[in-house]
Symmetry: C2
Subunit: 282 residues, 2 copies
């Protein structure tokens, strides 16, 4: 009996298949502000050495993929823009995929979002446009009543309302926060009476774009994040393995208070723990 059980265990080990792809959230996972988090660079290198694909996924729509690739490379994590998915780039893909011919958008957002949309061939119109195909909203630290009124008018006039994300807050240094894209989206939603299509986490469009690009299925992928209500929920929704890292905005005590669809597969204090891949192997 004992021998048979050991043999079965060994057979399971031999047939275990490690993940093919790791997707990391950025702020609170790879770095905090401008400071890299412990072992981030080493862990990414080691996973790549093992042949795993590594992607980075952020809801932050204020910067372009180029900006993030530069920032990560500057921290010793060599990164191409194509390794990065942002809610801004995913929004550009979404608008592009929906429409073969060029579309127009009114944008409540910052330079990163505008760049991604322009690069995707989307025509960005000003607040005096009489109509547009889409109103796209994300974090905009120059948000004001006139932009809110223009978004309202264009959505009531028939534009489709798309939100890069609904993050209520935007973390800055020392644990402080600023209003996130979600607070701007809420204002437009109330004023227009229209619920937006949401692109960012915990919605699944961004991760589906990554999996498609990598040619992987969700059960071959691991999502590593510091937020139960975005990273972990999104990973669970698509059927990825989920690793909850305690270096960001949430802590272990948040898990029992969260709904079960936000519960991670594992909880880690340091990214180095990811290198024991047994938990995530099929």
């Amino acid at each position: 009996m004992v021998n048979s059980s050991v043999n079965q265990e060994r057979r399971r080990d031999l047939t275990k298949i490690p993940p093919k792809i790791y997707i990391f959230d950025l702020d609170g996972v790879i770095y905090r502000g401008s400071e890299p988090l412990p072992h981030a660079s080493d862990v990414v290198s080691e996973l790549r050495n093992r042949g795993r694909a590594v992607y980075f996924l952020t809801n932050n729509s204020t910067r372009s993929r180029n900006d993030y690739a530069s920032k990560l490379s500057g921290m010793g994590i060599h990164t191409k823009p194509s390794d990065v998915m942002t809610s801004a780039y995913a929004t550009a893909l979404f608008l592009k995929h929906k429409n073969v011919n060029g579309v127009s958008a009114y944008v409540v957002g910052e330079d990163g979002l505008r760049k991604e949309l322009r690069d995707a061939g989307i025509k960005i119109l000003g607040s005096d446009a009489s109509s547009v195909d889409y109103v796209v909203a994300g974090l905009d630290r120059s948000f004001d009543y006139d932009k809110l009124a223009a978004a309202q008018r264009l959505i009531i006039g028939g534009a489709v309302f798309v939100a890069t994300n609904r993050d209520p807050t935007f973390p800055i240094e020392n644990g402080a926060v600023l209003p996130g894209g979600g607070s701007i989206v809420s204002a437009i939603e109330t004023a227009s009476g229209t619920t937006p299509i949401v692109i960012g986490k915990p919605e699944t469009y961004c991760v589906q774009m990554i999996l498609e690009s990598a040619g992987c299925s969700a059960d071959e992928a691991v999502m590593v994040g510091d937020r139960l209500d975005t990273d972990i929920m999104m990973g669970n929704r698509v059927g990825m393995k989920t690793a909850f890292v305690l270096t960001g905005v949430c802590d272990r005590d948040d898990i029992p208070n969260a709904p079960s669809d936000m519960h991670p597969n594992i909880v880690i204090s340091d990214l180095i723990e990811l290198l024991d891949e047994g938990w995530a192997s099929n």
Copy 2:
């Protein structure tokens, strides 16, 4: 049998008591923009001649009671500031009643709200305040990200969040709308993670202040309004008679689609129909 029935009917008529107080919403009921609506002045005069008290109640927090009294008087409806209740003045009363000693507030709002708060002895602090007792938010056509961030910071820091109203839109001429106070409140609610105390309609604080001031009970009062989701709902909540007038933003077809707590006692096309008071008599 027939005689007895007639006598009973007569007795009921003789014991009918007409309403003591009429409360009118303003925009869409008494006037539309700067144009008085048909019979508004005549109806108010006739009700006053009959000894009924007449009050005006608006969710608009951008002007003071003085401003509304001047506007109405200029339309031939002689009005004292004390005949007018606004969500701004009610908010000032709410803060004053809660605190015998002076309190401080950070205000996201316009001049009317600031004036009412200042007149009530509330100390208004700027966006650089380290803490305040209350954050008060209403329609602010100079709303911007910095105000949103200040409101968020102060509420997270412990300030009580009070909203003058949650109207999603603000009607302007020709049926067009601008974002209402409710859209600004939504942004602050999302950013701060805090649900506000709401003062304006359909909440009942404003009307309770009117009834208290008039020394009347709700069943002696009639609410006349053009919005099912604010005027009529509020009137029903406190047990007033409710008259829905079709000169504003809603029409008769909205009634079957509205929940039963928004159904009025009568529907009128013109304020003159109020002068047959039989429907509202006890």
